[in-house]
Amino acid sequence: MIRIGEKTVRRLLMAAAFSAIGGLLLIALFIFKEGLSFFIETGFRRFLFSDVWDPQSGRFGIFPMLVASLWVTLGAMTLGAPLGVSVAIFLVEFVPRSVMRVVKPTIELLAGIPSVVYGFIGVMVLAPFIRSSFGGPGLSLLAASFILGVMILPTIISISVDAITAVPASYREGSFALGATRWQTVRMVVLKAARSGIIASVILGMGRAVGETMAVIMVAGNAVKIPHSPLDSVRTLTANIALEMGYATGRHREALFATGIVLFVVIMILNTAAGVMVRKRVSGKRG
């Protein structure tokens, strides 16, 4: 009976193994099904590059949201990437292992804080601070970038630490033997060896920043316009979907699903890039 079971088990496991891909395809299928016809009818260009979003008069251009998503993500990366990578380097190279073993899980714990909580603190603390110190409405590109920059820190730190730890000790020892200081070793040997892993961490952080919804709705102000300063209020692609979905019918609803398609494609590109980077690291280690 057991021997017959063996084949069945393999089949069952294989079927289960396709659940993730199945889920991915199902999600893609339904979002494309609801949004693609609109996308094609409106035209690629008109949808992506027109800057008027006025559902009441049937004009759907998501250019301001594209630009806003881009700026918010860039802003978040400007804060999150250097800060996160610095923390990772510091923890692996300049701090006793015992300290790292406490600090790293603490930082990873914070990845579990719900995004609505970050958004709420943005509204209660950050936005009033920006309004009173720099002017503008407070709910702004700057506020969203800052909150997102903080939110992606755990992702970047955690993956970067893994990448830097994975650099073989022999690399460092060789560099020390040549008389290099610790920092010279880090800069010239360790960071080079861990580069693709660090880049992957930054790309994954970027994916999280692009995809974050609730926190952004709460702090960005959601005005549909191309921002001229960091103090302007902006609306991202994700915010656009979540804000208007509850009220959307007909063409408007299709337009929101089409926004979902754009978001889906952007995320897939980012993920593929991160995947390529990670694979490079693995093959680099083997070679």
């Binding site: 294989m14 903080v150 920092w183």
Partner: protein, 278 residues
Amino acid sequence: MRLPPRLTQAFVVSLLGLATAATLVILVFVIVFILRKGLPAIDSEFLFTKPQDMGRAGGILPTLVASVILPLIAVAIAAPLGISTAVYLTEYTRESRVTRMIRFGADCLAGIPSILFGLFGFIFFVTILRMGWSLLSGGLTLALMILPTIIRTTEEAIRAVPNAYREVSTSLGATRFRTTAKVVLPNALPGIVTGIMLGVGRSIGETAAVIFTAGSSLRMPASIFDSSRTMSVHFYILAREGLSSEMAYGTAAVLILSVLAVNLVAYGLMNRFIRRRS
């Protein structure tokens, strides 16, 4: 001008240290801020009675219950699938185009924004499968969301089981299935549980995907076909509608404490696991 290497190092190290300190300060601030404002609102009435007057008064019991049931449903579905996937990838095949495809699929699924999960769940589970806004729709949607995490952590845990264990078991005449079930999985269990707990933590904290699928009814759910509001959604609504900031902070504090507790358990298990391994 070039500084002497020692001086440069001292300078860089203090900068990096400053960055680390700043990160910790920000992150600790988030927790302390919520707990300081929220803890005073928490008492037994808050935890164990129903909300009244749209959440302005009373407690949060139904949302607490929903926040327990929803992750359970998600895990009950995602854990068997995720563990099977990991077992298949590690024990039943060699690296091939198929395994790469499966991993790529899981990685992509992990990167999909929660709002897209919400849209999908609303169309597929709520509307097409006619489950309505319900704990079941929400749980199924969340299951898809946490599946990649469970696959990844289980895979890592299984890989960490030394090959010698499998060889001994096989040499005693055990089939591959028996070896997997009796030797590999028990040794990988803490790692697997870690993955599950991380999934639970994510389910408790999720808002965007849940609000579109499990709905936002304030009633106590009588079955998994009832719609119910989780703590995250309740907090979001309280904060957005400006109903009561005291209740909002209280809910946020319970929310943060439960997510932290779940994650702590996960890391505790992981640590025990690592210590036993080495």
